[in-house]
Symmetry: C2
Subunit: 356 residues, 2 copies
């Protein structure tokens, strides 16, 4: 309830009781409103001296352009859209936070638009959203980033976009690549090096490209150790806890159950852990489990989950930096200017050496 006392309210000098407009600035600066407009838009065709003079008045008045008016006139808003179909709350929050890290203070705002890609009106819905809001750009995490029809619509409306994908796309300037396969490969090798040979995989749904990538990287990692993914140890699930639980039960019921399980994400890994326990076996001892995402959940489980870390917040920063580019004030930190990230395995208690 008690907070530090705040600075006394800094009342910005108001004009005639209300917000100053571009007309007020123009009048006081004795220039046309068009010149003021040029200055707030950083047009290069303004004499240095004029700019300084007007900038001073702008600061004095505390003038800030009205986004609605700008939007109406220029047919482009200052809203960034985040369109997603993601079951994982932490992913969404981190992504939002990353985008906000970048746009904060730049005059842009974040509009969130969850959707269900499977819904029959998905495209109509997104089309209406994009068309009406005249978005400054949209960030597309998986799996919407993989929807070609959606991309077409965005192009049709000249709406800039950045796709976040697990593999390089044909338009690198509009994408952030996460190389999921590398992380999965690392996970497989980690388990193989612990001596496991009967290693199972619980994969995400077909509708996610990442599910394929993670599985493929995993298989590749196994192959590097002369192992392969047995058919009965290759289970499909849905990136949800419940589906992981069911997949885990199926694996535990096998005549010769696996001693290690790599899961396509942490939610499913949590479900698998529960199934392992139900079967009376101990995580990290009888059965090693690895997740993917390194969500907070991973460290809250017991034993804590070994998982593949994806720097989602950084990805959000990268995506919005790409999107807005020069519209932003100042140079972005170098790491944000990149277009790729690499997953990293975080080893915790849920994986341990194979016991005979």
């Amino acid at each position: 309830m008690t907070l530090k006392p705040r600075r006394t309210k800094v009342e910005p000098p108001k004009f005639n009781g209300k917000r100053p407009t571009i007309n007020d600035v123009a009048r006081l600066a004795r220039v046309s409103k068009k010149t003021v407009s040029r200055i707030i838009n950083k047009s290069p065709f303004v004499k240095e001296k004029t700019r300084e003079h007007v900038d001073a008045i702008i600061k004095e008045l505390g003038y800030r352009p009205d986004p609605m008016a700008q939007g109406l006139a220029s047919k482009r808003s200052f809203l960034v859209g985040l369109i997603y179909d993601q079951p994982n709350p932490q992913y969404v929050i981190d992504m939002q936070q990353g985008i906000l890290d970048v746009i904060r203070g730049s005059g842009f705002e974040l509009l969130v638009h969850p959707c269900r890609r499977q819904a029959p009106d998905f495209l109509q819905n997104v089309r209406a959203f994009v068309e009406r809001q005249k978005l400054a750009g949209v960030v597309l995490p998986p799996s919407v980033s993989e929807d070609d029809a959606l991309i077409k619509i965005l192009q049709e409306f000249d709406c800039p976009y950045v796709r976040i994908a697990s593999v390089p796309l044909d338009e690198p300037e509009h994408s952030i690549v996460t190389h999921d396969a590398e992380g999965a490969q690392e996970a497989a090798e980690h388990l193989a090096e612990l001596g496991h040979t009967r290693i199972a995989h619980v994969s995400g749904p077909d509708t996610f490209r990442s599910a394929h990538e993670r599985r493929a990287g995993f298989v590749k990692g196994l192959k590097a150790h002369k192992l392969k993914l047995e058919r009965e140890l290759d289970v499909k699930a849905a990136y949800t806890f419940q589906s992981g639980l069911e997949a885990g039960r199926k694996l535990m019921e096998l005549a010769d159950p696996p001693t290690a399980i790599f899961c396509g994400n942490d939610e499913m890994a949590a479900g698998v852990c529960q199934a392992v326990r139900e079967a009376g076996r101990e995580i990290g001892k009888h059965v090693s489990v690895v997740g993917f995402d390194d969500s907070p959940l991973a460290s809250r489980l017991w034993p804590a989950l070994t998982s593949v870390l994806l720097p989602i917040r950084l990805m959000g920063r990268m995506a919005s930096t790409r999107l807005l580019g020069d519209s932003l004030i100042g140079e972005p930190p170098p790491e944000e200017a990149l277009g790729e990230v690499h997953p990293k395995l975080v080893v915790r208690g849920s994986t341990g050496p194979h016991r005979i």
Copy 2:
């Protein structure tokens, strides 16, 4: 990758290659644009026949008013703000989802605005946000809902708001009450009825009213069973996993540690569970643990966490229903029209009878 085939694109009849405007509608309907404006704003001063005629043209053209233009002219946008300072991702996601449940399809959109209430520029920041965007309304979950200075700013800009609070406020028409104390009381009684007498509490930070309420309700529940909260069993934490872990360790180091622990939220409960395990004791057997929120985390832990359920998504629906009221199409479901919710204890494996 494979999705059900979608309906073929329903191309809305466009006007001259671009979106139809109010002028197009007016011209085709042979009325003034003002009359069209009246119709889209559901003004009662329009003859039934005129309305039908114009509505037909609107539908035929697929006309939708431009939110920017409406915003500029009416000085009010169609954006709903969610201003929050919440460490719990699941809370935020659920709240967002609840709001979106209601506004979807009504032309409103959701703008997210996380902030740190402790930051020196907190008020300036929110003020700028509200002033510039001319929000249709804002939803204020705890703890920002408890900030009187913030409320004043919103009133100053005539920005409608709904506060979500753990106790009734002095403006019931602008608030959703969650009665946290009831849930905490229920948790205390549950533990007492299991035979526990040395019951600890790990509370949230002072900056959250809910932390007080939950503690107070808990104490009340104890009192009903002639128990009281010992000073050494009353630990303050910060609603985070890490702080819960530290609080749990402190409790486990006591000469006479508690046999049951009620935590102000699930994150802290997860930390406490970990501390209990570190101390070599078993959850639900040697030490019972109860959380608050019933977040997904609760059911993913092992044993699953007994927790107090708060219907956050419903709260989000209620809040936005209140906010937008008549601007929404159709009647809201009765449950959403209410202004109160009541927490409910969900018993799982983390609590069990006291053993001597």
